[in-house]
Symmetry: C2
């Protein structure tokens, strides 16, 4: 299960990096359950379409910034926690650092509880 | 809201310290929604009665160990994250360190997503 959840987290982070609108939508629909809810300090969203629009807005606001896993994914039962970094390609310092807990719904993400440890400017 | 959630977190931690069975049950019913689910690495429980039995078992296994908030409660929308310590009264080192995300249901806890940063021996 650890491997499956880690792969899911990597695909979740990849949705933020996929700037092709068609591929991003497909990836988001594969990663999130139809009833998924995503909540971070700036957004509280229901469903893959709303999440897709939000990710598109993030990409437009922070062009070239890439999201990556920082450290390990800690998972048990149907939940996981992990830290992520967002940084321009090649940059040594992340512009944002976040921490998420995800709750699974089957093999997809049912809930994202997002928090920020470092906000961009 | 910050103050309300912080107070709720303090009451949540207080359930682990309340060893009077009648008072503990009442506190747990006040803190958790009827449909609450509590999941940590060792338990996945539904409803206040199951959670009450679990907390009672923890108290029997680790007598005299007290739970307390470590650091700040970070809350937004209907979620919060925080770290807790569990230590014998007067001890300088916690025997266990945990990290929880809670999701609110109205003014009570609907979900606990618990993780451990230090396990007791």
């Amino acid at each position: 299960m650890q491997n499956n959840v880690e792969a899911l987290v990597q695909r979740y982070l990849a949705t933020f990096n996929e700037t092709d609108a068609v591929r991003r939508k497909a990836l988001i629909e594969a990663v999130y359950a139809a009833s998924a809810r995503y909540t971070d300090p700036h957004a509280d969203l229901e469903g893959p379409a709303a999440i897709d629009a939000f990710v598109g807005a993030i990409q437009a606001r922070y062009p070239g910034v890439l999201f990556s896993l920082a450290g390990k994914v800690d998972t048990h039962h149907t939940q996981a926690r992990f830290t992520w970094h967002a940084a321009p390609k090649g940059a040594s310092e992340p512009v944002a650092i976040g921490f998420d807990v995800i709750a699974l719904e089957g093999e997809r993400i049912g809930r994202v509880f997002g928090f920020l440890d470092k906000s961009p400017g």
